[in-house]
Symmetry: none
Subunit: 144 residues, 2 copies
């Protein structure tokens, strides 16, 4: 298996305590976590809880390196989850939960890009499916 530290170094990031803690936390957690939640957990569990700002920068670095994904929930709060590197290149549609910011991979194939007016050049086509995931719907976090 690959250690958290080597995952970081393979991505070109130094393996610092704050990064190790956050990446392990994201990998162990199914739901996307906000900065505030991560900070609270760090205060409880980490040996030397990192600074608030460091956590922001760690999350930024992990996202930039492709190890985490950032999404915004209904309240406008950024939420982060570990990125599943294995399925990165498969073609599939993502479902974005507006309640928790979670991203779920659907089995449906992506739709074909439409015809464009003359002269237009296609570069990317993204099918954005949004709604409420089962867990948030059950909690009643559904309505806006």
């Amino acid at each position: 298996m690959e250690s958290i530290a080597s995952i970081l170094r393979n991505a070109g990031l130094k393996a610092t305590p704050a990064r190790l803690f956050v990446l392990r936390l994201l990998a162990e957690t199914t739901k996307p976590l906000s900065h505030a939640e991560i900070e609270a957990l760090a205060r409880k569990e980490a040996d030397a809880p990192p600074d608030r700002v460091t956590l922001y920068r760690v999350l930024e670095a992990l996202t930039a390196a492709g190890l985490a994904t950032k999404a915004v929930d209904r309240r406008g709060v950024a939420r982060f989850s570990a990125r599943d590197t294995h399925r990165r290149h498969e073609r599939h549609v993502h479902f974005h939960c507006l309640g928790c910011g979670g991203v779920f991979c659907l089995t449906a194939p992506p739709p074909k890009p439409p015809r464009l007016p003359k002269g237009f050049r296609l570069e990317a086509a993204e099918f954005d499916v949004k709604g409420t995931c089962a867990q948030c719907a059950a909690k009643g976090k559904s309505g806006a």
Copy 2:
């Protein structure tokens, strides 16, 4: 025709200057506007620019009354649009030009939303197509 004031009163809201200004602005604008953008426009155009907080409350009231739609953009900022404007664009595929930032409505029908796992609720399925528009392509201004 129905005046902005009577639209407000029919929705059970008093027709105050701030509400008239905001609702008319949203109705005239295709792109969803943030609170900051609305405030800036109000400062320039309104006779007696409403307070920051009043604008927040106006937007809240319009949304609650069903006259406006609230959505959170990628940066986590709330954006508002008149409800019928929002409806008109719901069933369109949009082309985003990476060169000039322009948005074009395509004639192609949107793809059917995919099947979701049990308990998931669909709220929106948006097909966003990105590339270079004819004008930018001619100028060689390909995106980013």
